[in-house]
Amino acid sequence: MAVKKRKAGWHWSQDVHRHFREIGIRQVAYVPDSGTARLIDLCSADRTMRSVVLTTEEEGVAQMAGAWLGGQRGVFLTQSGGVGNCINMLSIISECRIPLLAIVSMRGQWGETIPWQVPMGQGTEAALEAGGVLVQHVDEAEQVPATVEAAAKLAFDANRAVAVIVSQRISGTGGKG
């Protein structure tokens, strides 16, 4: 993984979390997942943010709509499989043009070994686009912070629904289940 220029032990989650603080993210909704585990840990430990663990991903989309209605910024973290649960709920976001920042950690994509992950992984981007979400890809760990930063601008400043798709190449998951 291309993290040579960074200090040993550096992880993209640190910069992304710092950026969340800078732009005033106050609600973090997620279903636990290994691809975003470090970011979730950092956000959960941060008292300026309310971390909410969900039973299923569409709850998170609805919560993000409520957060923005209540005057706060939120971020929604999901695995690619969870995207398939959200398409209907995304119509709140699209119809009201509510800003949405989602970070999607991919399965069924780069080096996947579980066949059952592949159909949804291959359908993730098309499903997001069908749901009216702008998709931004990143497949190098070093590029994740800058991509999230740009996506956050698009979301909160340009009032768009944006998903950052974090490649399985970065998370390196996909070996077991």
Binding site: P32, S34, V53, T55, T56, G81, P115, W116, Q117, G177
Partner: protein
């Protein structure tokens, strides 16, 4: 309902104990550890292993139970998987499949993604939700004595039966069954229906 007590049961032993009495029962396992648990007991043509579709194990069991009313259908899944398909409890309660037993291996964790806490760690009571949904036969299991009673319920009581077994959140060695979906499907259908 027993008061909350210490969790001591080992999931592998619990699943082995449940499946010892399976006879010709059909088994659907939810993705992740319940699938490994069943594989650890030994592969079986009457097993349908889910490796995906989180939130769908119980409802897969419902469709199967309705299609095979003469067979006992057992669903073994995890608390995280069950939480993702809670609405199914109401659907199952309304359908009242007499031959369906659902057993949750509740370690209060999402095992496949790093052992994060699930909502059951914070007091969400799945059997009580099942009762609220209208499932009359439910059990919360902390001890092996309670497990014996619950196993009798799973196999013999008029379904739907909903049993929640609290198990220690210990990571177990992964014992993987085969994973090719079409092959799992064909073998299962051949076993249940004869060559199709």
């Amino acid at each position: 309902m027993p008061a909350k007590t210490k969790i001591t049961l080992d999931r592998r032993k619990v699943v082995a104990r449940i499946l010892r009495d399976r006879g010709d029962a059909l088994l659907v396992t939810g993705l992740g550890a319940p699938t490994w648990d069943a594989a650890a007991v030994g592969d079986h043509a009457n097993n349908f292993y889910l490796w995906g579709g989180m939130g769908g194990a119980m409802m897969t069991g419902l469709g199967l139970a309705l299609a095979q009313p003469g067979r006992r259908v057992l669903v073994i899944t995890g608390d995280g998987e069950m939480l993702m398909g809670l609405g199914g409890l109401a659907t199952v309660a309304v359908q009242k499949p007499a031959n369906l037993g659902i057993c949750i291996m509740d370690n209060q964790r999402y095992g496949e993604t790093g052992m994060q806490d699930t909502h059951t760690e914070f007091g969400v009571d799945l059997p009580a939700m099942g009762r609220g949904a209208g499932i009359a036969e439910t059990a919360m299991v902390y001890t092996s004595k309670e497990l014996d009673g619950a196993i009798a319920q799973l196999y013999d009581a008029r379904g739907p039966v909903f049993v929640n077994v609290k198990v220690v959140p210990k990571v177990q060695p992964m014992i993987l069954p085969f994973r090719d979906g079409p092959s799992i499907k064909h073998r299962f259908r051949d076993a249940v229906l004869g060559e199709t």
